[in-house]
């Protein structure tokens, strides 16, 4: 897994650097500067966030999680994962360490994909901080209503794909 992830990033980086080089109007210094700008706030934030996420994950009660969100939990687990994902606060720095721990504990794949999808599309903290002030509540209401079936569809699609490939 380690090698594949490093390889994927390496290939993508090589491809974008090559494309920028051929275009000529993209300066490498600008891109590096931009990347550094985005990395700076993370240097302080990421270590405590990640450590918090891993400790929080170690506190997750294993048996209960497997009982309600394990592979056998089926449609009920997918519904519950939608609910948890939509109210789960915090950005990716907290959520992904927790997700890793949940997978290690034994949460089902369909339930995990549902949880991440629900957190991605319904994310209430992002709605309150960015979307509502910028887009207005009417747009937010239409989008949230239209997004309600999205995590459920992701969960059931995953179950169908897993059933088909098994």
């Amino acid at each position: 897994m380690t090698l594949v992830a490093y390889g994927t990033i390496g290939l993508l980086l090589a491809a974008t650097v090559f494309a920028a080089h051929r275009r000529g109007d993209v300066r490498h210094a600008d891109a590096v500067h931009e990347g550094w700008q985005q990395l700076q706030p993370l240097l302080l934030r990421l270590p405590p966030a990640l450590i918090a996420g891993v400790f929080l994950a170690s506190l997750v009660p294993e048996e209960q999680v497997v009982a309600v969100l394990g592979e056998a939990s089926g449609a009920r687990g997918i519904l519950l994962a939608t609910l948890i994902g939509s109210i789960m606060p915090g950005g990716p720095m907290i959520v992904f360490p927790l997700a890793l721990a949940l997978i290690e504990v034994g949460i089902g794949l369909a339930q995990m994909i549902t949880l991440i999808t629900a957190w991605s599309v319904l994310a209430l903290h992002r709605v309150i901080v960015f979307e509502a002030p910028m887009m207005g509540w009417r747009f937010v209401a239409v989008r949230l209503l239209a997004s309600l079936p999205v995590p459920l569809a992701a969960g059931f699609l995953t179950e169908a794909v897993l059933a088909a490939t098994r």
Binding site: V4, I9, V26, I51, L109, E131, V142, V161
Partner: protein
């Protein structure tokens, strides 16, 4: 509170609310682990967290660089032009692709949606774009999901997510017709 810290300010001046919150959360969760599971479990968990940090940092740096290059290669104005002029299935398809490749966090994606919406792009195209950016966003998948959850998981989740922006777009269309027939 002082205003935004300048570039030369010492590191502790850059401690903002979010960072302090994460530090407190880490201390709280760490103490609870020590209390409930004992010092051995605490040490093992801490070492695990530091190992994870060490391993994801290079991936993170690489992915941020990829995002920065993509942002330079595909300017926001070009993206807005593609999105504004199309509706229907074609519009939803363009919105899905654009959402998937938009780099950066919500501070990069939402200004684009606002500009589109004001320029007259239809609501379902905007909904499909936000949904695609949320579930198919390649930048976030690379920066965060790949290092933690691995290539197999990311590939499966992205595959499953391909039809989702269309689903949300069509649902928005139905809702709008229902609000004002």
């Amino acid at each position: 509170m002082p205003p935004v810290a300048s570039k030369r300010s010492p590191p502790w001046r850059r401690l903002d609310g979010t960072t302090v919150f994460f530090v407190l959360l880490a201390v709280g969760a760490g103490s609870a682990t020590w209390w409930l599971q004992g010092p051995d479990a605490f040490t093992a968990t801490l070492i695990g967290a530091l190992g994870l940090l060490l391993w994801i940092t290079p991936v993170l740096v690489g992915a941020l660089l990829v995002g920065a290059y993509v942002q330079r290669l595909i300017p926001r104005t070009a993206m807005a032009r593609w999105l504004g002029g199309n509706s229907g299935v074609l519009g939803l398809s363009v919105a899905t692709i654009a959402g998937a490749i938009t780099p950066g966090g919500p501070f990069a994606a939402f200004p684009l949606v606002v500009a589109l919406y004001r320029a007259g792009a239809s609501v379902e195209v905007c909904v499909a774009y936000v949904t695609a950016w949320s579930v198919l966003g390649l930048n976030r998948a690379l920066v965060w999901e790949l290092p933690f959850l691995g290539v197999d998981f990311v590939a499966l989740r992205l595959l499953i997510s391909l039809p989702l922006p269309f689903l949300a777009g069509f649902a928005a269309l139905v809702i709008l017709r229902w609000i004002r027939p």
